[in-house]
């Protein structure tokens, strides 16, 4: 495998303009001859499917949910970044680009990030035109707020439901194309495998989750926008259905998987209560605009928070990072919380929690202002914990939230399998080793509305629709039979343990040894434990029912089977990357004050892993990160 990022030549800020001109076009009359498959209907998938449909291609869009409107992008709370500079506070495309590169701890691809910052402005325009009800000032102009890792206000938002409103915008655009007959939607349908013909992605095999029917779909290009792999940790802020299966199966068919060890732990989630827990709930980062994070100075202080005097509180983020304070980036804020809890100063029944306190904000601006800004989050907190955060501080703790790693893509968002494009969280390209808040929505929509429609067209212009294989052809039949065989294998185990119990155990392993802090000894150990657990899975799994019906235990088992393999790849990457950067914190590599210490000499590369077979180690390919514009520095938020 040879990785060619296909980064256009020329000055950084002209690459995309130039590239757009260089990309080949498909004549409008010919567009309708092409078929494009889009897997996933979140921000990236729905926006890509809608836009490709608008352009005239025939699109088939697949999602496992019962409606495309329910993809997990919907749960994004805080906002979307854009370099509009409406606040006149010194923002620019270059500043958004720089903040994103720096926030990613200098492990992202420069050209992709610059393009992201450029198109960020079009996204807001497009969403407003669709009727997305962003927050506004009394003047009628759009309002902004600040997010972590930035000193300007460039985050656009719709109360605490920005992801919902953006997704509904994309879903409605998609619905319009469905009505127009340009997009055919397949809800409750899950990808089982990708089909390659002569080395190119030419279709997929899917399972209808209601009837269990396995079917094939052929196309001239396949777009995967299937999200991240957070649930490899079992507990995460992802939806319970989120999974790695689509990208992992593409990996097994030859798509390189890049930087799997870059996982983001979000600092502000509601703490875990017990083993029954199925997911963790995020409290938006926007809360850190007004909330102050603290723990008692004294170890094991069990007084009620309101009884702890000011002088005995440690506002550790403000103390350690005076210029960014409570808005320090996520990886830094999460580690600081872990450090406080490890030192025995954590709060709540488990000691795994810190306070997020709004008393100052309420005193300064009044409860009604705070309620207007964050009311829905305070309500959600109360429903889950039974506590009123207007009267006592929230208790929060870090939780797995986002995964920066994903399938390797070139500048055109095409994976190492020709014809397989990867968008949104499913690819690796824009966030380096740490994503800044409000940048996921930006990237999903940038990829779907403004990048893929050009680059997919460029690829199609070189493909002939006449070469599109029939689903009766050999390659499809072969993959279909492999898919059926795998399902039969799962049923044939007839063991005693449920898919969930395996998933939970796997998640605990990955969280313990490859979570917020990682080291060589732990990673080496977990790389022995994971294959043992996987062997037990294939020996002792218990399923109910049959393959030809709605069968949630089969769905879970099939996803867990992929997590079992993927977890090993994740930990292998974490072991190989013998440095700390962003969300990847190797305890062996830290500065004297506990910050991540990069090793640019040896690790300034993208780690792209190539699958080599079930019992063989994957091969590492390195894409060097050559920075044209930015100088790599020690990231400082002090």
């Amino acid at each position: 495998m040879k990785l060619d990022a296909k980064i256009p030549s020329g000055p950084l800020d002209q690459k995309w303009e130039k590239h757009k001109f260089d990309l080949k076009l498909v004549n409008p009359a010919n567009k309708r001859k092409y078929e494009v498959i889009v897997v996933g209907s979140g921000l990236a998938g729905a926006s890509a499917a809608a836009t490709l449909g608008e352009l005239g291609y025939n699109v088939k869009c697949f999602c496992y949910q019962d409606s495309p409107r329910r993809a997990h992008s919907i749960a994004a709370q805080g906002g979307i970044n854009s370099a509009k500079n409406y606040q006149n506070d010194g923002d620019s495309v270059h500043r958004l680009f720089y903040d994103t590169i720096k926030g990613g701890d200098f492990r992202a691809r420069e050209a992709n990030v610059h393009r992201l910052a450029e198109v960020s402005r079009n996204i807001i325009d497009q969403c407003v035109a669709q009727g997305v009800p962003f927050a506004r000032e009394y003047s009628g102009m759009l309002a902004n707020r600040s997010f972590g890792g930035a000193q300007v206000s460039r985050t656009f938002y719709a109360r605490g439901q920005t992801g919902q409103q953006l997704l509904l915008g994309a879903y409605q655009a998609l619905s319009r194309q469905i009505a127009a007959g340009k997009v055919t939607m397949f809800p409750r349908t899950e990808l089982q495998d990708v089909v390659l013909v002569d080395g190119k992605a030419k279709g997929i095999v899917v399972r209808n989750l209601v009837t269990g029917e396995i079917s094939s779909h052929a196309a001239d290009a396949v777009v995967m926008a299937t999200g991240g792999y957070g649930p490899v940790f079992y507990l995460s802020t992802n939806a319970v259905g989120c999974n790695v299966s689509a990208t992992y199966r593409a990996y097994k068919r030859g798509a390189a998987f890049a930087n799997p060890c870059y996982t983001q732990i979000h600092p502000t989630c509601i703490p875990v209560t017990g083993d029954h827990q199925s997911k963790l709930t995020l409290m938006s980062e926007s809360l850190r605009n007004d909330g102050r994070v603290w723990v008692p100075k004294k170890k094991g202080d069990e007084r009620r928070p309101q009884d702890i005097p000011e002088a005995e509180r440690d506002y550790y983020l403000e103390r350690k990072y005076p210029s960014f304070g409570n808005l320090a980036p996520r990886d830094i804020a999460s580690r600081a919380a872990k450090e406080a809890c490890d030192a025995g100063r954590g709060v709540g029944p488990t000691g795994l929690g810190v306070f997020l306190d709004f008393q100052d904000a309420i005193g300064r601006q009044g409860e009604s202002t705070v309620r207007e800004r964050y009311g829905n989050l305070f309500d959600m907190y109360q429903r889950i914990t039974g506590e009123n955060a207007y009267h006592q501080p929230m208790r929060i703790f870090p939780a797995v939230h986002y995964t920066m790693g994903g399938l390797w893509v070139d500048y055109n968002l095409m994976s190492s399998i020709p014809g397989l494009f990867v968008l949104g969280e499913a690819n690796f390209s824009d966030h380096g080793a740490n994503r800044l808040g409000a940048s996921a929505l930006m990237q999903g929509l940038a990829d779907g509305y403004f990048v893929a429609p050009y680059t997919v067209g460029n690829y199609l212009s070189q493909e002939s629709p006449a070469d599109r294989p029939s689903t009766d052809s050999k390659p499809f039949k072969k993959v279909e039979s492999e898919v059926n065989e795998r399902i039969d294998q799962l049923f044939a185990i007839k063991g005693r343990r449920t898919p969930r119990s395996f998933h939970r155990e796997l998640g605990k392993l990955v969280w313990e040894y490859c979570g917020m802090a990682r080291d060589k000894a732990g990673l080496t150990k977990v790389l022995k434990l994971i294959p043992e657990l996987r062997d037990e899975f294939w020996d002792n799994l218990n399923l109910s029912g049959g393959p030809n019906e709605l069968n949630t235990s089969l769905e879970q088992a099939s996803r867990v089977a992929d997590f079992m393999e993927f977890a090993e790849l994740l930990c292998t990457d974490a072991l190989k990357r013998d440095e700390s950067c962003g969300g990847h914190f190797r305890t062996e590599h830290q500065t004297p004050d506990g910050e991540a210490k990069r090793d640019d000499k040896n690790f300034a590369y993208v780690a792209a892993w190539e699958y080599k077979g079930q019992s063989r180690r994957p091969t590492l390919h390195k894409e060097p990160l050559a920075y044209q514009e930015v100088k790599m520095t020690q990231r400082s938020y002090k």
């Binding site: 409606s67 919907i74 319009r176």
Partner: protein
Amino acid sequence: MNLTLHVWRQENATDSGEFVTYLAKDVSPDMSFLEMLDVVNEDLLEKGADPIAFDSDCREGICGTCSLVINGSAHGGQKATTACQLHMRSFSDGETITIEPWRARPFPVIRDLVVDRGSFDRIIQAGGYVSASTGGAPDANTIPVSKPNSDKAMDAAQCIGCGACVAACKNASAMLFVSAKVSHMSLLPQGQVEREQRVLDMVSQMDQEGFGACTVTGSCEAVCPKEISLDFIARMNREYGRALIKSCS
């Protein structure tokens, strides 16, 4: 705590279905309602029985997937709360809980507690959008939108499309859902061009899907997890009348 559950079990769309009783033991008050069902399902699976099929995804009250009628109330009767956000601390030890799917003809049961809400998607496809193709949008601040209008549009746009309004309505009316989208769009300048056609087409699709008429009892508003106001139904009726008159002239 220990609970007795009466759960609707139905193998598939054509099966007649029945209530089956289960015991849920050692339920923690910190569990969400769906986590309690997860635990019951783990137990069933271990015993070799079919787990209870129910829909859920985000489990934080925003995706609109979960859809349970709990003790006769869509989402379980806690104000502004989806079933996934309902926690077991609102139940007491020894209680008997009845769990059913959404019941409405346009939402046929697929299995147990899982229903098909494709009719909602088709209503949106009939016109619940602004026809603004990607590209060519003017600068976002070109058209100011008054804050009160924008806020009201957001109040309506918050609908998560779960269908509780239909499940709660004695007529299985979808008026609250449809009016939320119609109101969201008609309150914004971007929604004006297609304002009349949109409401006519969406209402027509709603009728074709077999949703019932609205008699303004307000049961929909009472169960809506996003507290979508009944006022939006009044607004849609006005929009509809306005569109009819305009289409005649």
